[in-house]
Symmetry: C2
Subunit: 261 residues, 2 copies
Amino acid sequence: MEAGNNFKQWKKQCLSKLDFSKKGSVDEDIENIVSFINECHNYFTTSSCSGRIILIDGESDNTEVQKQNCSWLFVTHQKCQREDVLAGLRKACGDAVFKFEPFVLHVQCKQLEDAQLLHSVAVNSGFRNSGITVGKKGKIIMAVRSTHCLEVPLSHKGQVLVQEEYIDYVVQVANQKIEENQKRIERFHSCLLAAVGAGEAFGKDRVEETKAEPVYTRRRKRGQEKTDSKNASPVQDDVILQNDDEDSLESGLHLFCLETY
Amino acid sequence: MEAGNNFKQWKKQCLSKLDFSKKGSVDEDIENIVSFINECHNYFTTSSCSGRIILIDGESDNTEVQKQNCSWLFVTHQKCQREDVLAGLRKACGDAVFKFEPFVLHVQCKQLEDAQLLHSVAVNSGFRNSGITVGKKGKIIMAVRSTHCLEVPLSHKGQVLVQEEYIDYVVQVANQKIEENQKRIERFHSCLLAAVGAGEAFGKDRVEETKAEPVYTRRRKRGQEKTDSKNASPVQDDVILQNDDEDSLESGLHLFCLETY
């Protein structure tokens, strides 16, 4: 099948691209998973996020649920503290929302059977909303997803609506979710390793003796700091591969760059 | 392919089964979509929920994020009022959480191409987290999903943590989400109808002159009222098809029963 023949070419192109995400690198907690997958014959990752707690400031009176004009007040891929949220809220002008978003991973697969195998791994690890997309050009993407979430409005038109004790509590809830999320990631990694023997899908690509470090030649613009800083960025961050049937793989690539091809 | 040959049989079996969901019927807002799909050659629905606003009471000090022991304090598939939430909270003993959950639909498809077509319809309608599952026995499921959500803790160990003004606000936010959800459902329905000419996948099954009404012979147990009532039920309700690779289709079936087979 033409798509199968193209797979190697697609992988080579993808892994040689720059990381266009705002963060510019794979999240630490999933580096091992991403690199493992990219070393396998029949897979490569196209986008990822280990999971995060964020505070975003949206426009008030915006009836569009997809708030396009948001700024990020705070983001972390680890547990957070009350003070992080309070500090963020002090800068809020609109409708601030405190959110937890779970691990997301998009993997392009050589064949449908490869996607099915990876899908089993994802579901068995607790990522029950995972699913496969098959584009018109034959590109097969397996998306690791879960329903695990938290979304808590905290201010409206810049006015904080809750007391600090409530913020304490939602921070605690979000931290529990990050913790559970981490357990699922570890479970996913274990299942992935266990699946290595399951078939040639997980056979490894040749890896050069000198392991390539991620190479990002694209410099950040002056004044644009890492995503975890207070210089916030719009919502569409480093993770969003929209599984559309135009087979677009160019949104938010997190790549572990290999020089094997 | 054997799976393709089995499709007619699977469809017949599925459509003749009882609806085991607590509600016992397809949600009104999506009856037309469900019936349309079930009249098509290459598809049948296995579970659905039009979207809902719920207030659930979970066990406190339960570090398991998936709170297994929850009771439902309130549920609606339409907009809600502040008083609904306040009334529910008065009965809360543990950690009450106010949630919005979007439209979910699971459709078994005859061939992968049929799933791809339906997937395009779903994504174009705004359900961007939709995805396909292909089970070991060849069962192909397309799940319509979105990330659209709201999850707001309101009480901890039975103590309400917020003021009524905040509840007013989150009710307003949830109602906006239900409204947006409804627009997406309508968009999905329109796209579905537009796709009718796209191929034989959407060719219609023969429908008997006398349209079959949903037939549910399984009576509710005494005292067990509809889901929307105050006699709450555990969280696992009428929607949950877990896309696992055991190809289980028996959780939470919502069926529009046809007597065409």
